[in-house]
Amino acid sequence: MKKNTKTIVNLVLLALLFLAVWVIERTSSASSMLITVLKKGAIYALIAVSMNLLNGFTGLFSLGQAGFMLVGAYTYAVLTIPVAKRVAVYQMYAGGAIHFQLPWLVGILLAGAVAALFAALIGYPVLRLKSDYLAIATLGFAEIIRAIIQYEKLGPITNGSLLLKTYPTFKSTLFPFAAAAICIGIIVLLINSTYGRAFKAIRDDEIAAEAMGINLFRHKQMAFIISSFFAGVGGALLAMYQGTLQANAFKAAMTYEILLIVVIGGMGSVTGSVLASFLFIACSEWWLRFLDAEQFIGSFQVPLLRSGFRMVVFSVVIMIVVLFFRRGIMGDKEFDVEGISKWCRRKFGKGGAKA
């Protein structure tokens, strides 16, 4: 298949997806589970893809995703709360220290930029060392930044451990879809550029990559900063989705959720991460909800079902995936026109269309 045709077909598929989302939104009630899953799934898709850029495409193991999301979410919220509402939000801190409001788009971009800045600061010392140190450093960063944001002395800016609210949010499901599509699109372009090829070379064989003239530190730093930028943007979108923001929600468990999505989807597959995000969110928010509620059949109480059981099932799923499906749904393949046509050719013999 010609490269141009491929791009066009993929864009048409994307347009159809948007149309479908729009139709679903028009036909179902705003509080329906499907809408929730679509909104949150799109945001998680972006975050998972950003993590995949680092873990799956560059071969760097980072555990700081929740930390960078937190930084992004707070940057966005703090800078975009309307001036008039700051007195109500920063009740404990006399209206807070900031007396201006930035437009939401600027807020989102700054959310990414601040997260990227933190990544640059962490990456500078750590990325020269062996890769394992990055996991430790980013995990530490995520824990520390959460504590710092809740620190009372920073209250005039972060509102301490209290809620941030009344910042601009979105209503339409198309908004998170469009934002995620743009960001993921940029990441895909990056992955398929000469820099993306260098990232994959580093993942495959660091020593050979370096011998081919690829500056390891520079490229790792680049991947880390870009990944964190989009994690920050994802954090801002998540804040918008939730409507209120509290640092406590961004625990290490959130990073593990995203890591699970990346692994289920397939390390090194963008579409895998996207599919897995929607699947994961659908399970955790919707399909597996019943596990958390006590159920009665007649007067018989179904055993095991109680609050928290969902997490047990989840843990088992993680173990099964890690043990038996290490390559995830997609492996490192992509779910696009080319991937599908290749798959069809393999499945239905050589009779299929020749690319």
């Binding site: 372009l189 550029s193 000469t194 090829r197 994959k200 070379a201 050979a208 011998a211 680049m222």
Partner: protein, 287 residues
Amino acid sequence: MSENVLHVENITMQFGGVVAINNLSMDINKGEIVALIGPNGAGKTTAFNCVTGVYEPTNGLVSFNGEVIVRNHPSGKMKKLYAGQNADKYPEKPVSHTPDQITRRGIARTFQNIRLFKSQSVFNNVLIATHLRRTSNVFTATFRLNAREEKRMREETLELLKIVGLDGLKDELATSLPYGQQRRLEIVRALATKPKLLLLDEPAAGMNPQETDELGQFICQIKDRFDLTVFLIEHHMNLVMDISDRIYVIDFGKQIAEGTPAEVQNNPAVIAAYLGVDESEEKEAGA
């Protein structure tokens, strides 16, 4: 007198107490094919690693086309441990470069244990090696503002693959190629960095006599075509004797002979090193 390309002077590489290379000096001139031979564990690969920046030698100097690319003297913990010679010969500030910086200066290499990018196609393996001459930054590359450069990279890659006859296999996974072709691909990948000096670490390892012959021709062919200087480590003596202009022989990290193939072949020290002076010593050496 032909001009010097690689100059290695009094290199000693010590890992803790183990002296892997001991006061080794070598010179390679433009257009030569020079072989480095020696028994297993003699320190050949380590010598390559010192030249390419993978290891920082404990003592000594390496220069490439007249520029000092590596220089070091024993310092820190190594000061006391140092078991080599010439400890005071290079008191100046150490010079070191990372492997990518050295590749950018024009030294490319292959590896003894093939190191291809295993998830990538044959084409991409070579394409990646053109990355170092990019002029785009990450922004222009992402947003495809470097279309001309990308096109040039792809054309160069295809041309290289055609020269070695791998263009028909360009979309195959690199690691799915037969062994001999993987070795060739590694050489082509190194060529894509546009080197002046090519270091080959046992390029014929695992090849049968016919493949080895073809490889020898191939090396001579690319040497002429790309105006290269070649430095190779090899165990296949036929290949070494056939194509090299000069040979360095090392054992236990020390040079034991140097000269033309004919000279080296008849050197008693070389014969002794390869055959072992007697059985018991050979066993000790192998341990």
